[in-house]
Symmetry: C2
Subunit: 247 residues, 2 copies
């Protein structure tokens, strides 16, 4: 078997009191998880923290050391509780201030709309020295990448646009593929055979996700790996053990 190349790994930091209080239901984690899986950069860990400078600095420092990429969501708007940019700069001891390239983007955007580029909005042009801007085609105010940390907005439409901007700049690995088989049995009935199968296919991962539908138990078995032929073989074995007609 060929030696596997280094698989890059990623972490995410979701920033915002409104997520932790339950006021807002986060959707950015799920979006990023799917995008990274398709790009071959598995998401290894997510931390959800509040609008707290010390917590942001600590999470950025720990996760940027352990993972190839860290993605943040939230806290880069114009208001007093938008402290992510300052905190990420502090995590790397990078100076931060209003940068001409970011100011020019905002100035053009607001001029076209007849809106004043006031002090609050100008906060969104504060970018750490050495950072690369991340394009925001929705509302102009850019995100940025500093070292291996990609700082993006929390508003889902903007977050998703920024993910689309930044992902092509990141070297991906082999995309993680998955196949699924639905078995109409209780999870306790399939656990033994599934464990045996997992032992015989150590290059694949096997997950089982029970459900109750119309009063009947069932399990979705998901096999994951990077080699499509190996996935097919495992799913065929699984289907032989649990034929789909046993409902």
């Amino acid at each position: 078997m060929p030696q596997a190349a280094h698989t890059p790994s990623a972490a995410m930091i979701v920033i915002g009191d409104e997520i932790l209080s339950g006021r807002t239901r986060d959707s950015n984690m799920h979006h990023l998880a799917m995008a990274l899986t398709g790009h071959g950069v598995p998401l290894a860990e997510v931390r959800v923290i509040g609008d707290d400078r010390a917590a942001i600095i600590a999470a950025v420092q720990v996760l940027s050391r352990v993972h190839d990429h860290v993605f943040t969501s939230g806290g880069i708007g114009p208001t007093h509780d938008d402290i992510t940019a300052e905190a990420v700069a502090a995590a790397f001891d990078a100076p931060i201030g209003v940068r001409d390239d970011a100011r020019a983007i905002l100035a053009a955007h607001y001029a076209a709309r007849g809106t004043e580029l006031n002090t609050a909005r100008l906060r969104m042009a504060r970018i750490p020295d050495g950072a690369t801007l991340i394009e925001n085609p929705v509302s102009a105010a850019p995100g940025f990448s500093l070292h291996n940390v990609h700082v993006m907005a929390g508003v889902p439409t903007v977050f998703e646009a920024m993910v689309a901007s930044v992902l092509p700049t990141i070297t991906g690995g082999a995309p993680l593929l998955s196949q699924q088989l639905t078995v109409h049995r209780g999870e306790g009935d399939i656990a033994g055979p599934l464990s045996d199968l997992a032992d015989r296919h150590t290059d694949l991962s096997f997950g089982s996700y029970p459900f109750i539908r119309g009063g009947a138990f069932g399990v979705n078995v998901v096999v994951r790996g990077t080699d499509g032929a190996r996935l097919n073989a495992a799913i065929a074995e699984l289907a032989a053990i649990f034929p789909p007609d046993i409902a």
Copy 2:
């Protein structure tokens, strides 16, 4: 002003490869966040990690030291990838094995359905020494509380039932209240006045959540605190600065 009582804090650990791969969209975090906010035990941090023993142990050890309560979701079923119970026991150096009280619950449940209590299902009766069982009215297999860590299922219906079982056993603080005012302005227009308001009401927290609806910008301003009268005063001040008829 009276001295504030200790406000208990909580953390959550969401466990499951399927969340990180994007296959499954987690809903337990949002459910727990709302339930804890209502109970006066603010959720301070969430970590989402994979089905990885070392990662579970590390997260449990760190978070159970820092917070009054830790809630876990996922990984307590009958299959080979359900390793949460063993890992939580290991985090506290607690012995774990099939416990009679948990076995009796499973035996009664499966006997009533004519289903075999096989080796795989018996895994769900593995409970650490010293743990208290958490009732599962949906599918019988119990969760457990060990020290300040509450171990619950990942399936949302079961998770939610377990939260309802365990929350009354936890001493809550004053529930966090919130009020919201929708302002039909750009976030950059309200940032200055909002920051002044926050400086004058240091016992409250102010969040601003921009939206785009039908092509128009607006902001939902949320004021949070435990004193309803103070919230009313702040919202009245805010409404005076940004009268609702300015759309």
